[in-house]
C-alpha cells in the first residue's frame, strides 16, 4: 500500500491527487459515476448567468454530493483580471467556498492564459482572502510570481486545454516543481492514463483534468484508469526510477552458463 502525505492546498487536505471537472459529460448521471470512479475529492465548476426564462429546476450543484466533494469554482472564460475577480467573488457568495481556480484567458484559439492579468487577479484575490489556484503556462517565472503573490498552488498546463496532447514540456514541468514551495498541479492537456502517469512521475503534486475523462468513449472507465495512473505515477515518483542507460545490462548472472569453461 502507498503511504503518502495528503495533498495540502492552503488549509485544505486531500487524500486524492486527482481533481476532475464537470464539463462535457454526455449526461449528469455519467458525470456522477465518473466522479465516483475517479476517487476525486475536489471537482471544478464554472460560473455563468442564470437563464431568467428558466431559473428553477435542478442545477449542476444538485448533482454534486457536497458531503463527499469540495467545489472548486473557476473563472473560465474571463479575459480580464477585473472580470475574474468579480466572478471569484460571486462564486464565493453562491457556493460558500474561498477556493478559486483562477483562469484569465488571453486567446480563444490556444486558450493560453494572459499572464499579466492572471498575476494581477491573483494578487487581488489573495488580498481578499481567497485560496487561489491559478491556471498558467508552463513558465517557471510566471509560476514563481504567482507563488510570490500568495497563491496556494500553481497549476501549469501540460498542453492546451482540451487538446489531450499530454505533457508537451516535461523538463520545464520538472523545473517548475523543483523551484516551487507550494503544490504544483498540472492542469489541462492530459489525454489518457499514460499522460497522467508521466505527469505524476515528474514529481508534481496533483492533476486537474476534465476533457480527458469526459470525452472518453467510456468516461466512467477512463475515470478509473486516470485514478490508477495518477496513483501509479505518484508511487513511481516516490519509489525513484532506475537510471537510464544506452546499452543493455543483463538481469541474469553472466557467469556459470552451461557449456562454459570451468573457472
Amino acid at each position: 500500500m502507498l503511504r503518502d502525505e495528503p495533498l495540502k492546498v492552503g488549509r485544505y487536505e486531500f487524500q486524492s491527487r486527482l481533481i476532475v471537472g464537470t464539463g462535457k459529460y454526455p449526461s449528469l448521471d455519467v458525470m456522477q459515476r465518473a466522479h465516483e470512479a475517479s476517487g476525486a475529492e475536489l471537482v471544478t465548476v464554472a460560473i455563468r448567468r442564470i437563464h431568467l426564462d428558466d431559473p428553477s429546476g435542478k442545477t449542476l450543484i444538485d448533482y454534486i454530493d457536497r458531503s463527499r466533494y469540495r467545489i472548486l469554482p473557476n473563472t473560465a472564460g474571463c479575459t480580464t483580471a477585473k472580470d475574474a475577480v468579480l466572478t471569484a467573488q460571486l462564486a464565493r457568495e453562491a457556493l460558500h467556498t474561498d477556493l478559486i481556480k483562477l483562469e484569465v484567458i488571453g486567446d480563444t484559439q490556444t486558450l493560453y492564459p494572459d499572464t499579466t492579468q492572471t498575476i494581477e487577479a491573483a494578487r487581488e484575490l489573495v488580498r481578499d482572502g481567497f485560496t487561489v489556484l491559478p491556471y498558467i503556462t508552463d513558465d517557471p517565472i510566471a509560476c514563481k510570481q504567482l507563488e510570490e503573490a500568495g497563491c496556494a498552488a500553481i497549476m501549469p498546463l501540460a498542453a492546451p486545454i482540451g487538446s489531450g496532447l499530454g505533457v508537451c514540456n516535461p523538463y520545464v514541468i520538472r523545473i517548475i516543481k523543483e523551484r516551487a514551495s507550494v503544490p504544483v498541479i498540472v492542469d489541462a492537456g492530459v489525454g489518457t492514463a499514460s499522460d497522467a502517469a508521466v505527469a505524476m512521475e515528474l514529481g508534481v503534486d496533483a492533476l486537474l483534468m476534465n476533457t480527458g475523462v469526459a470525452a472518453a468513449r467510456d468516461p466512467v472507465l477512463m475515470a478509473q484508469a486516470m485514478r490508477r495512473a495518477t496513483e501509479a505515477g505518484r508511487m513511481a515518483y516516490l519509489a525513484g526510477r532506475m537510471g537510464k542507460r544506452l546499452y543493455a545490462s543483463a538481469s541474469s548472472p553472466v557467469t556459470d552458463l552451461i557449456g562454459s569453461p570451468a573457472p
Binding site: I61, L86, L95
Partner: protein, 66 residues
C-alpha cells in the same frame, strides 16, 4: 425605472428590493449570487438593497465546467 439584468433591460417598479426581484424571478437564493454595478451584494443585504434606475444586475450560478 429600468435596470439591466444579465445583459437585458427590464422595466421594474420603483422601490423594488433585490430580495423582491429575486423572488419575482423565481430564483433560488441557495446556489446563486448577485452583483449590482460590479459589486457582490451578500445575501443578508438583499432585503435592504433597493434597486436604482440604471443599475446593472448580474445573477449567477454554477454550471458544468473544467
Amino acid at each position: 425605472m429600468r435596470a439591466t439584468i444579465n445583459g437585458t433591460e427590464h422595466e421594474l417598479r420603483d422601490g423594488l428590493t433585490l430580495a423582491e426581484l429575486l423572488h419575482e424571478l423565481g430564483i433560488e437564493e441557495s446556489g446563486s449570487a448577485v452583483a449590482v454595478n460590479e459589486r457582490v451584494v451578500r445575501r443578508p443585504l438583499h432585503e435592504a438593497t433597493k434597486i436604482n434606475d440604471g443599475d446593472a444586475i448580474e445573477i449567477i450560478h454554477a454550471v458544468a465546467g473544467g
